[in-house]
Amino acid sequence: MLNSKDILSTIRMIDQQHLDVRTITMGISLLDCCDPDPAAACRKIYDKIATSAQHLVRTGQDIETEFGIPIVNKRISVTPMALVAGASRTNDYLPFAQAMDRAAKAVGVNFIGGFSALVQKGMTEGDRKLIAAIPEALAATDVVCASVNVGSTKAGINMDAVRLMGGVIKDTAQRTADRGGFGCAKLVVFCNAVEDNPFMAGAFHGVGEAERVINVGVSGPGVVHHALQAVKGQSFDVLAETIKKTAFQVTRMGQLVAQEASARLGVPFGIVDLSLAPTPAVGDSVARILEEMGLEVCGTHGTTAALALLNDAVKKGGVMASSSVGGLSGAFIPVSEDEGMIAAAQSGSLTLDKLEAMTCVCSVGLDMIAVPGDTSAATISAILADEAAIGMVNTKTTAVRIIPAPGKQVGDTVEFGGLLGSAPVMPCHTGSAEDFVARGGRIPAPMHSLKN
């Protein structure tokens, strides 16, 4: 029989250390829903999502009951909508977002991702219409998430799209000003976006994917933090080994849930995403892991090195635990969703510049960051460009989810509630990037020899 010490350690991880499966996300291809008539396309989109995912939530709950492991979110990702809607004779893409919203609500998921466009090299007419529709779509729907991929290591950075997105983010914040600019929390701007990411708001179902697929995102900052408390003062070798072992256990649990969900739903298993995703709950923070390594406060000197070690060890531990790893896989550092990050930002120790440095060594990027409401569109575009450049040059995914909180100043806090938490408004640099952003065109892809 199993060792009762092991059994109790799993129970403690679930009860006291916030171990959970963060999301079961069903990816659904909508490529067969294209139709010249937009109303017909929307009908097909609704029907396909509602049919494909009708048992998703129920299945998630059943697995939760039998394994005794919380599965926090059940979600859907779909084909980037610009590819589907592009076939329809219409300039108005709002109905496509509304069809997604209705279908997601009908099956009971809490988010649906894929109101997206991939424009790293250029924009089609469909891409332009979709980008133009994002502010209205995010204001008029509740659970739809949008994302735009503006750059890649192979294509470079589409600065026309970057310029557009600065305005789109501002407009989205204005249209949802009554909720602190909440619409921006559902909008991600990527470089090197991945096709199998189960996490919101950036999830979409890539064109290289199967008809339907089950992707699972695990979590467990609390478990890693707890494990590190037992090796206080020991060397980095011990630290890395401890994180690896913990990540292995967490991922094995995710793999089991993914296989079980895949078998029950009759949908192929795609990947397990190894990300350490924090929540605003005390004891579920990535920042506190970094502090546990010996930093007085997250954001101080040493933070980037600590995060690099954490991110790498999580991957090494997780890779062996799953038959297929993908998505974003690493440590997330969303400011508003991490109790320790919020505290560090409020104390002034964690700045936008330090966060940018941190994104060079961990998964994703500037995530859930609130900046003053009067930040210009050009400044936001410049922030997007900086982050895309980090992703492009380092051959990694980077993303920006930034909220220019309407009417808020540095020192204020924006409350989003739930898993999205609360974001302290952080200062941006005030020097203008207006002329830089106004140039447009493309930043060429980097070369891959002469590495220095």
Partner: protein, 89 residues
């Protein structure tokens, strides 16, 4: 299907008897039991076989939790696979 029942709480007379009686009434076979008491805290883990169980998993889970509540015990049941996958390669 095999599952692990865990009972955690303050030690008292008749814990094992109560859990076993409930399991037996639902035709659940107990395969193995291990228990320890650390500083008056009782922890028991049981491996059970649900192949012939008379009630669905969810019902049994609720009944066990309910039975625990009256004695201030935390009683839960989880499929064995979760522990296997986390602690064995």
């Amino acid at each position: 299907m095999r599952a692990i029942v865990t009972v955690i709480g303050k030690d008292q007379v008749g814990i094992i008897a109560a859990v076993c009686t409930l399991l037996s009434a639902r035709n659940v076979n107990v395969l193995d039991i291990s228990q320890t008491i650390v500083q008056e805290y009782f922890t028991m883990t049981m491996l059970v076989d649900l192949a012939q169980a008379a009630v669905p998993f969810a019902t049994l889970r609720e009944e066990l939790a309910e039975a625990g509540k009256s004695r201030s015990l935390d009683i839960r049941i989880q499929r064995e696979d979760i522990f296997d996958s986390m602690h064995r390669i």
